[in-house]
């Protein structure tokens, strides 16, 4: 008889045992996973963007900055109820709030309602209503905030390049981090959709410019309403970076190329400051910041490589612009003196090989001055022959060839031959042909050494990062005598200022410019790169420059013209600066 009661009891005990097993499964075996799910239920991170540091030129003109766009949004959990007056706020229903806002932003309340409904996600995150609004209106809405519960004015920070493509290669661009880069940046709070610096200074100085994003960890309830803030960190803005670049000079030079490929570097010859660094064709970094994929694709597919910084990464045959250096080395080595004269019959003979001067009928008897002025190949080949490879190589190395200038922006090192060369090849090297390649930046450093009378300076472009002044002049003495430098200066002066000089297009009535033209052979037959290097003013050089026009023909044409224009700009700007400084501070 009691067996049936026992059956019921056993059924019950089996049921309880099943429950205990299930408890063990939920709490002991899968407990950790459920605990994690519980944490995910309640924790939310609200990120706070850190504005990126600005990039300023030497005159504090903005090359890269941030634009704050204001927009109006509503936080669902702070808005009054759909209808009926709220006792607490005394401001009535949600509808009334939208009507009040409508009068300020001139958007119909129904439209505001529908935008709110379209954008609302979770109660603690703002739903966008009007985007963008002008700043005065943003302030007006802030003033009315007590009548507009739940309505907030949000600011969204985006990267702006006020000067557009000016100095684009120096500034660089932003993009989303690549899959290789992202794991490294993740621990700094970078999210996959964030834009990080990828090239130029935006890339190289990214850790300083980036700042540190802030945010809050909040606890939410089942309706995703904020219960409390568990922790928060305020953002740290990125640091402002001040550059040595003169954006006006930069823009002027860029315009002078008229879109023809080329590059230009202007240095302050005694300090090594980079006043301008131009690479044409360029690009507009704004396209990257705005994630304008069409424009970015066009840049990437352009055969002329607009994204490449030709000033630091382009390597070119120097041609005749090497001649002042060859001359200086030869004078220092005692291979020639200021008065040594060679006769140029229009060619030079090496064994059974005859190499012609560019001037087929010859320059006649030339000293260093005339050889530079007329860019006589025969004179410098003769110098090269007499000097020999070792001394020439050592001299070239001393002015920074075949090695990075010690600087940034993905610089290329250029090239010098390391193998044994025939006598003819050495002679070719001495006049800048053959197996030698340099970047426009190296050319500018090289010419600075003449302008600053014998110091090899290291170029630099970052003046200040945040509060840290980065100014540093690093210069190595070359040990050149004043006589040597006078001779080279005299020759380079004649290039521009003698009616017979090859650089006569650079002659300016405003400022005394000295320089050297160059026309470098390329692998394309009949096509040459045009070079013009030099410095100004003659009395106290304030700028040394190297200008390259890719496949631009003769250095005496476009490059010399650009050289004149940039020097004239600097002369006028310098005069203005002097005049401005001369005006008493308290005058109107």
């Amino acid at each position: 008889m009691p067996s049936r009661l026992a059956v019921i009891h056993r059924l019950f005990v089996v049921g309880l045992a099943g429950l205990v097993l299930r408890l063990a499964q939920l709490q002991l075996i899968d407990g950790a996973s459920y605990r994690q799910q519980a944490e995910q239920n309640r924790l939310r991170v609200i990120p706070e963007q850190a504005p990126r540091g600005m990039l300023l030129d030497r005159e504090d003109r903005q090359l890269a900055t941030n634009q704050t766009v204001f927009r109006v949004a509503a936080i669902p959990q702070d808005l009054p109820k759909q209808s009926g007056a709220s006792k607490r706020t005394m401001v009535g229903s949600r509808r009334e709030v939208f009507e009040r806002l409508s009068r300020l932003v001139h958007v119909p309340p129904d439209e505001l309602e529908s935008r709110f409904e379209a954008h609302v996600t979770v109660p603690f995150l703002p739903a966008e209503l009007v985007d963008p609004i002008p700043k005065p209106l943003a302030l007006r809405i802030e003033e009315e905030r007590f009548a507009l519960p739940g309505v907030v004015v949000e600011s969204v920070v985006s990267r702006r390049y006020p000067l557009g493509p000016v100095a684009a290669h120096v500034v660089g661009y932003l993009s989303q981090p690549s899959s290789q880069l992202f794991p490294l940046l993740k621990e700094y709070g970078v999210k996959p959709q964030d834009l990080v610096g990828r090239s130029g200074l935006e890339g190289e100085l990214d850790p300083y410019l980036r700042g540190r994003p802030g945010g809050a960890l909040i606890e939410v309830n089942h309706r995703a309403r904020q219960v409390r803030v568990l922790g928060s960190r305020t953002h740290a803005s990125g640091q402002t970076v001040r550059l040595t670049i003169d954006a006006q000079l930069q823009a002027l030079i860029e315009s002078q190329f008229h879109g023809r490929p080329g590059a230009c570097v202007v240095l302050q010859p005694t300090t090594g400051e980079v006043l301008a660094m131009v690479s044409v064709p360029g690009f507009n970094p704004q396209a990257f910041a705005d994630q304008d994929t069409k424009a970015v694709q066009a840049y990437l597919q352009d055969q002329r490589s607009p994204l490449m910084n030709r000033a630091t990464r382009g390597v070119y045959l120097p041609g005749s612009i090497i001649k002042p250096i060859t001359g200086a080395i030869a004078l220092e080595q005692g291979v020639i003196t200021r008065h040594t004269t060679f006769v140029c019959p229009g060619y030079i003979q090496f064994g059974d090989r005859r190499i012609h001067c560019w001037k087929r009928d010859g320059h006649g008897p030339v000293s260093i001055r005339e050889a530079l002025m007329g860019s006589c190949n025969v004179f410098f080949m003769e110098v090269g022959r007499r000097m020999g490879l070792e001394r020439l190589r050592a001299g070239f190395l001393s002015v920074g060839l075949d090695r990075r200038t010690g600087w940034l922006l993905g610089e290329a090192a250029g090239h010098l031959p390391s193998r044994r060369l025939s006598e003819g090849e050495v002679a070719m090297l001495a006049m800048g042909q053959g197996e030698v390649l340099l970047t426009p930046l190296q050319a500018a450093v090289m010419i600075s050494a003449i302008a600053n009378r014998g110091w090899l300076v290291e170029p630099w472009i970052v003046k200040q990062v945040g509060e840290h002044r980065m100014e540093r002049t690093h210069a190595v003495p070359l040990g050149w005598s004043p006589d040597t430098l006078d001779a080279i200066w005299e020759g380079m002066d004649a290039v521009v200022n003698d009616p017979h000089g090859t650089g006569i297009h650079a002659h300016s009535p405003l400022v005394r410019i000295v320089g050297k033209t160059g026309t470098a052979q390329t692998h394309v037959p009949g096509k040459t790169h045009g070079w013009f290097v030099g410095f100004c003013p003659y009395d106290k050089p304030q700028a040394a420059f190297a200008i390259l026009s890719e496949y631009g023909g003769s250095g005496g044409d476009l490059p010399a013209t650009i050289g004149r224009n940039l020097c004239e700009y600097l002369a006028i700007a310098g005069r203005q600066a002097v005049e401005t400084a001369a005006v008493p501070a308290d005058s109107p």
């Binding site: 019921i8 002991l28 459920y34």
Partner: protein, 360 residues
Amino acid sequence: MKPPSLARDLDWPLMLAGLALSLISLVAMKSATMTLNPDLAVKQAIWAVAGVIACLAVASVPYPRLIDAGVFGYLIAVAALLLVLIAGTVKLGAARWVTIFGFSLQPSELAKLATACVVARYLSIQTAPIGMREILWSASLVAVPSLLIFLQPDLGSSTVLAAIWFGAAFVAGMPKKLLGGLAAALLALLPCAWMILKDYQRTRLMVFINPGVDPLGAGYTIIQSKITIGSGQWLGRGWMSGTQSQLSFLPERHSDFLYSVVGEEWGFLGSVAVVLLFGLLVWRMLKIAQDNSDAQGRYLATALASWIAYQAVVNMGMVMGVLPVVGVPLPMVSYGGSAMVATWVALGILQSIRRFGTRF
């Protein structure tokens, strides 16, 4: 006959198990209702005290008279259930309450007690062995309130009445072939049952099979309940410290899902303790049934034990996601005044059976 001493005659394990469960309920309720409505814990405490008093009062009355009262109560319950259907208070989409003198009462709780009495009496007065006729008659007695409750709609409570009937009928000697027939009939009725279920009930059953079908709707409760229990791990997150319950991720946490809060805040150890207390409680109830030589008392004790056992297993199974969410409260634990008092009265009836019954 010696004057019966209540204190000496009480089945103390049964009493203590009931008290322990009520106490656990109050402590867990305090935590579960902190952010909801702190008054609920106080109300529950008042109902528990009322329940214990009712239990002791009932225990002082010989159970045959209790059954007499139960038969009368059955009529009242059926009338009240009809009243609820016509003019009940709608809460949570179902009309289950009737308001008398400002109290919301759940007639279905009275129906459980009364039906147990009526079925026990009916089966005990049969002279012939229990056959098809008796089974059908007793089933009909249960079917009337059960159907009325089902129409409220309250699927859970209507199945509780079925469990009460089954316990009594089974122990009264339901023939084996009828058992098989019953099982077959249940299977055959399943598709029909599906047809008459309300949409939300169907969804609940669907969701039971796969909570993923509607994670933000009906499945939400099951998923959150499993997270709530599971996150308790060994020792729980501590009283008042369960994030799932304190931040309201768990719906119905003070009523049908209060056991999940116990799981979250007191962990595996606390949850198993509750399971063991129910084991003790039901074991004592079945022991009282077994020790009683009087059929009427034995059937009644079995019916009441089946009720508590069924509700305990179904509720805990449902919050753990192993049984469908049919809406059955956990006896003496879930919030509910009528249920609390009714359960304590049931314990009182068992004490009465133990005291006044004839033992083997």
